[in-house]
Amino acid sequence: MFEAVAFYLFAFLTIAMFYIVVTTKQALYALTALAAGMIFISAFFFILGAEFLGAIQIIVYTGAVMALYAFGMMFFDTTRDVKEAQGNKFIITGLATLAAVLVVLIVSAPIISENITAYYPALPEVGNTQEVGMVLFTKYLVPFEVAAVMLLVAMIAGIVLAGKKMDLSITLMNDAEIHDMKIDQKLDQHKKVLS
């Protein structure tokens, strides 16, 4: 009973939050709603007994990703109303629904036919985090490492892309050079204004 109540409550909340995300015209609202939605999703993970995943969800999404978005938004003009794509809403909604139904069909088909078996049965005697650790560092070790490298690459890429003049090291420059650079910068800005 508790499970059902919790499911429906969080389901409603998640849907509501995400609905706001895709409909609101205020970027700030969307960000906030998204963050809330992420936390609500982690609730499902806890309900489903995937505590580790739930924790990760909160840390990564609500912590890291949302923070990143928040920082990102500082660059943009978030006060402005967000424009939306023109187009028939019915088509968009229709397409989305159709896709969703088809996904359900495909995913549920083997479940209904009950012909799947567990490759890595969860061990009832150990906790979820422990289990995850065991599987992750044995069977999925290589993907895990790859994912780690990928994150590293993404991090560097993010820094390189967002950062400016990364090829220059201010610590290695003397004052005169830094001064010149600043003048160049101003000139650049000046040019930009003129153009």
């Binding site: 397409l95 896709a99 495909i106 088909a109």
Partner: protein, 632 residues
């Protein structure tokens, strides 16, 4: 003997190549003299071969080398000198030697002197291949070779539009007939497995009549083209655009008789199919009168002689068609001599008259050009068939043959034509050499040709006179391989009545022509007189409107159809279809590129649609896999 054969055959080729070396250079006499000497060599060799054959020697047969050999087909370059080919060789070499020597004078002032001799000797070589080959393929080489040389010589003065047009007409019209000939050769090969005369004639005896008739027809179509028989005759008159020696050699004496030679050579075939023979004879008789009628009113000296050639070719075919092969060949020989003489005489006249061709603008030339007058008159007498010149013996034999074979229609047509022949021949002679000196109106001062040209013509004159006396020698020689039917009219009374009657008829025609065209103050045709406005006169003057019809109903439609094929069909249907298919593909790309308009929203939308399509496919495959056993 083989050495003489090769000498006879290849001397003209050497002469031709020698002259060809100088084609781009300015005129050198040596380019004319050397080929003439080489031709004389060829003539001497031919004479030696003739003597050999006359003395009862075996035919000389050589196989030089293989030409084509594939599958069962085996065609060598084989040459044979037998009674028939040696006759032709003599005719060809005599006339061409004379013409060569004559041309040295005639072409004296032409800047393309050297080129002329290259072509002329090449022609002789081709003609010799034609007559000496021992198989149909070799004959075809010569056949096409003379066609080529005829093209080059008719179009010799290629700066003239009419000359190059006539050259092309001659070539193309001959090609039409050559196709028939080619088909005939194919038929021969697939039915007998060979193209060698001896083998083929042997095999003909075992074939059914229908096949033989087919072979006969197709080979004769080839002959019709080369010998300018109706309806492929128009090129011959137009071919007079070439230099006059060319007309004498090619379009009177030798090349046009190749068709007759072919029929004579294939006598074993045509003997087996008398129906086709009768058709040939009828066509020959028709062409004889048809061409003679056109000669009656023509106002072009060379064309008149050309029509007379055509008419005489009709005689030859009439004889050959009736099975009198030796008679046909004899008339061919006699005709070659006097017709070449006639043409060369006409050449002298043209020289004297500065290339004027209308005999109505001449008259009275006999005073300044005695020798030419004598020669042309004698040649005309021979042509008319008066005793004792060559034409009498040969033409009379044809008439007798027709009579004896009981083809009285052909006989009477030919008899009537003999009268016409006499009339137009002497119309020409009278207009040129006698009567008023009309040329004075045009301010021309005629002069006689070079002496050596006249001397060169003299052998022909001699032969035109005496050829008749050679008849029995000739008969005995060729009947070794040709059917030796002697056409004797059994009743002496009939014979004498016929002969004398014919002679009288001819003489009357001559006198009438002479009287009509030598009277002082005779009216020059200018389109006003009553006779000129009659339907018949116009019909004859316009050559039965046949050239006009060809131009209107064949040449023009062909040109139009070609243009239509190109612009309408090739470009607007065939190519347009191809481009259309490409266009559809291109347009579909053009239409669908809106999908890729670069806007991420649109692209995402299409991505979703694509995903859905894939998902539907997945569902469908899943369902079919699942219910496969239910569906069966």
């Amino acid at each position: 003997m083989e050495i003489y054969l090769y000498l006879a055959l290849f001397s003209p080729l050497v002469g031709s190549l020698f002259a060809a070396l100088f084609t781009t250079k300015s005129k050198t006499l040596v380019a004319g003299v050397v080929p003439s000497l080489l031709l004389f060599t060829s003539f001497v060799s031919s004479s030696i071969l003739l003597v050999h054959i006359l003395n009862g020697g075996a035919p000389v047969h050589v196989e030089m080398m293989t030409w084509m050999a594939t599958g069962d087909l085996y065609i060598p370059f084989g040459f044979v000198v037998d009674q028939v080919s040696v006759t032709m060789m003599m005719v060809v070499t005599i006339v061409s030697t004379v013409v060569h020597v004559y041309s040295i004078g005639y072409m004296d002032h032409d800047k393309s002197f050297n080129r002329f001799f290259a072509w002329l000797s090449a022609f002789v070589f081709s003609m010799l291949i034609l007559v000496m080959s021992d198989n149909y393929a070799g004959l075809f080489i010569g056949w096409e070779g003379v066609g080529l040389c005829s093209w080059g010589l008719i179009g010799f003065w290629f700066h003239k539009e009419s000359a190059s047009w006539a050259a092309n007409e001659a070539f193309i019209m001959n090609r039409i007939a050559d196709l028939g000939m080619l088909i005939g050769i194919f038929l021969v090969y697939w039915n007998t497995g060979s193209l060698q005369y001896d083998h083929v004639f042997e095999a003909f005896k075992g074939l059914d009549v229908d096949t033989l008739a087919l072979i006969g027809i197709f080979l004769f179509i080839g002959a019709m083209g080369k010998s300018a028989q109706f309806p492929l005759h128009t090129w011959l008159a137009d071919a007079m655009e070439g230099p006059t020696p060319v007309s004498a050699l090619i379009h009177a004496a030798t090349m046009v008789t190749a068709g007759v030679y072919l029929v004579v050579r294939s006598n074993e075939l045509y003997s087996l199919i008398p129906e086709i023979g009768l058709f040939i004879a009828s066509l020959g008789a028709f062409v004889a009168i048809f061409a003679a009628s056109m000669a009656l009113v023509n106002r072009d000296m060379k064309r008149i002689i050309a029509y007379s050639t055509l008419s005489q070719l009709g005689y030859m075919f009439a004889a050959a068609g009736l099975g009198a092969y030796w008679v046909a060949l004899f008339h061919l020989m006699a005709h070659a001599f006097f017709k070449a003489l006639l043409f060369l005489g006409a050449g002298n006249v043209m020289h004297a008259m500065h290339d004027e061709l209308d005999p109505f603008k001449m008259g009275g030339l006999g005073k300044t050009m005695k020798a030419t007058m004598v020669m042309m008159t004698l040649a005309s007498v021979a042509l008319a068939g008066l005793f004792p010149l060559a034409g009498f013996f040969s033409k009379d034999a044809i008439l007798e043959a027709a009579f004896v074979e009981h083809h009285y229609v052909i006989y009477s047509v030919l008899l009537f034509t003999a009268g016409l022949t006499a009339f137009y021949s002497f119309r020409l002679v009278a207009l040129i050499f006698h009567g008023e000196e009309r040329y004075t109106l045009f301010g021309i001062h005629p002069h006689e040709a070079y002496k050596f040209m006249l001397v060169a013509m003299s052998p022909l004159l001699l032969l035109a006179i005496i050829a008749g006396s050679l008849k029995m020698t000739y008969f005995e020689m060729v009947t070794a391989i040709l059917p030796d039917i002697e056409y004797h009219i059994h009743s002496h009374v009939t014979f004498w009545i016929m002969t004398i009657g014919t002679q009288l008829f001819v003489v009357i025609a001559i006198l009438y022509a002479y009287k009509k065209y030598t009277t002082i103050g005779m009216n020059v045709p200018d389109g006003t007189s009553e006779t000129e406005n009659t339907f018949m006169y116009k019909l004859l003057k316009n050559q039965y409107y046949i050239p006009y019809a060809y131009d209107e109903y064949i040449v023009k439609p062909y040109t139009k159809l070609s243009a239509l094929f190109w612009t309408e069909i090739d470009q607007k249907v065939v190519d347009a279809t191809v481009d259309g298919i490409a266009g559809v593909i291109y347009d579909s790309g053009e239409q669908t590129r809106d999908m890729q308009d670069g806007n991420l929203s649109t692209m995402l939308r299409w991505m979703v649609i694509g995903t859905i399509a894939l998902l539907i496919l997945a569902v469908m495959f899943g369902l079919t896999a699942r219910y496969a056993h239910v569906l069966g």
